[in-house]
Symmetry: C2
Subunit: 348 residues, 2 copies
């Protein structure tokens, strides 16, 4: 007579599987994780038992026993909603696989003190590591605070990460020059560039990529109109207005992100310019905005979810290896997404 345990959830445990397969619980555990040093016949028996009982390991027990990191912080700010949701999807997938919890903290303000404050929230909640999506990946106060607390972090999507930091990114430089070449290939010779917020190194890298492609084509960089933007829709309006007010406006505008590109399209429309017939506009990021406008935007896609996954994985590896690794950097592939906002320049 086995009296049912007081707190039985009726779930299948390693013990059940072990009994079914005629082995010990430890062997089941070995098969489930990695599975070194298990005879093939044994492994198959265990796998069969797992399949038969439809066993799935209890992640709480697992992380308790293994003593692994369970709380990973994610500090976000100024969330381009589209970016954030993709990022969370990727991070959650990796977190579940690793059996760890994601702790979100919002950091709205731009001020150093606000950022430091939000970071201290993490220190108090005992997160073992932190993921920093842009733009906080570049925040001095945040990083100083983490450094002081001895909490490792991974920066995501920095343009030019400092040596010795953990980071995941795309090659902003290469992506921006590829996009510029796309415009050049279409025949544009007078291309305006709207820069991104200078508080992010990716802005500089994108600009550098633009410049490199222009010069490589043998054109005069100084002749290209360049305006300063701040990644916001509003700043894109100001920049585009300035650019189209020029005596000789460009035939194409390359905005450093989609929001500013959308602004450029809006400004053009209000001036009676048709996009892309009269003016080509391209963006960067491929957020949801790129397809909720007309015409749909030619842009650069970042593999956001994959970057978040990579960041979390990298962070966990760092935490598992108790020795501080010197430098881990991962550069993921970007993709040029050609849609309808771009055409050869008007014949005139």
């Amino acid at each position: 007579m086995s009296k049912p345990s007081r707190r039985s959830r009726g779930s299948i445990t390693v013990q059940d599987v072990a009994r079914e397969a005629g082995v010990s619980a430890m062997t089941v555990s070995r098969v489930v994780n990695g599975g070194t040093n298990v005879r093939e016949a044994t492994r198959e028996a265990v796998l069969a038992a797992i399949a038969k009982l439809n066993y799935s390991p209890n992640s709480a027990a697992r992380s308790l026993a293994a003593g692994e990191a369970t709380q990973i912080g994610l500090l976000y700010s100024n969330p381009s909603a589209a970016y954030l949701s993709q990022f969370l999807i990727g991070a959650l997938a990796a977190a579940r696989r690793a059996g760890c919890h994601l702790v979100l903290e919002a950091c709205e303000g731009e001020r150093a003190e606000e950022q430091a404050e939000a970071t201290r929230g993490f220190v108090q909640t005992h997160v073992q590591g932190v993921i920093l999506p842009p733009p906080l990946s570049e925040s001095g106060p945040v990083r100083a605070e983490l450094e002081a607390a001895g909490i490792p972090w991974v920066s995501v999507a920095m343009g030019l990460p400092p040596e010795g930091s953990l980071n995941v990114r795309i090659d902003d430089f290469a992506a921006a020059s590829a996009m510029t070449r796309h415009l050049l290939d279409m025949g544009h010779r007078h291309i305006g560039f709207i820069r991104g917020n200078p508080n992010q190194t990716s802005s500089a890298e994108r600009y550098r990529g633009f410049c490199a492609a222009i010069e490589e084509a043998g054109l005069d960089l100084a002749a290209m109109p360049v305006e300063q933007g701040y990644f916001t829709f509003r700043s894109g309006i100001v920049a585009s207005e300035a650019m189209l007010d020029l005596p000789k406006p460009p035939t194409a505008i390359f905005a450093s992100n989609d929001d500013m590109a959308a602004a450029a399209v809006g400004v053009a429309h209000r001036r009676g310019l048709h996009v892309p017939q009269d003016l080509s506009v391209v963006g960067f990021d491929d957020t949801a905005l790129a397809t909720t406008m007309w015409p749909e935007l030619t842009t650069v896609r970042q593999p956001i979810a994959a970057m978040a996954e990579a960041a979390l994985t990298m962070l966990l590896e760092e935490l598992r290896a108790d020795v501080r690794t010197e430098h881990a950097e991962q550069v993921l592939a970007h993709q040029l997404i050609v849609r309808e906002s771009c055409a050869p320049p008007p014949a005139a």
Copy 2:
């Protein structure tokens, strides 16, 4: 000489706190959770010890010992990115508090078989409950599959949830009539309405709210132009074109969501109409889009994150109480957000 445990993470445990406070571990546990049957003096001693040692409970151990639900599914589809990110933020906050994991599953397709397939993914991963944000909250196949597997679920943001279901929502009817009254108060007497996707009951509720406000004002409902939309930007373009092609176009357009409202603004601009001077446009949802357009959109804000939190909390309560509760419904407050896309009708 206490020899350090082999797997010590050096973290503070209940034992440490208990020693510090001169009580037993169990008492610490009681203080931390609820804390019934603890003398005030003891409680204070424990709290002091907790503060001193900066203790925070290990959630893995907690959920293991308490045997609580640890995997909650979240099936999303067609994510308006802004909606999804807000939703995830809320769900994650609640999940962490409860110490449970969020399991995401994407369901892209519209077809019944695809939806059933995605749902079966949950059944196999042993999630104990599922949260269904719109539009899947209304999906027959998904619900049938969950019903068959005996997995409880919570629907979020249905317009008119069926009796006996767990759900969290806002009052779409009231929100839509409030918005309509806002337009009426501004002096509009000829208001066009773009309906939402008929596969969601919230579409019908919003339309009902519009109708009620119109009739309450003593106006002729039949004189108001109504077009069918599908919550997409594209469908909004088609509907707005049709509406503005009318011999007597409306002075205001009420779109059932922000995407379609953005489309209406775009169409107006291309026709040389100024928003809001020549045409007022209002939306619904207050997604990020509402502020990345010009003029910024007057719309209805749903407390998305709060709804997600409420849904998860409700689901966990349902799971904890092993008896199936009959009916739990929670209606959260919406908010009318007045921005710049709305003005009195032109004097003409």
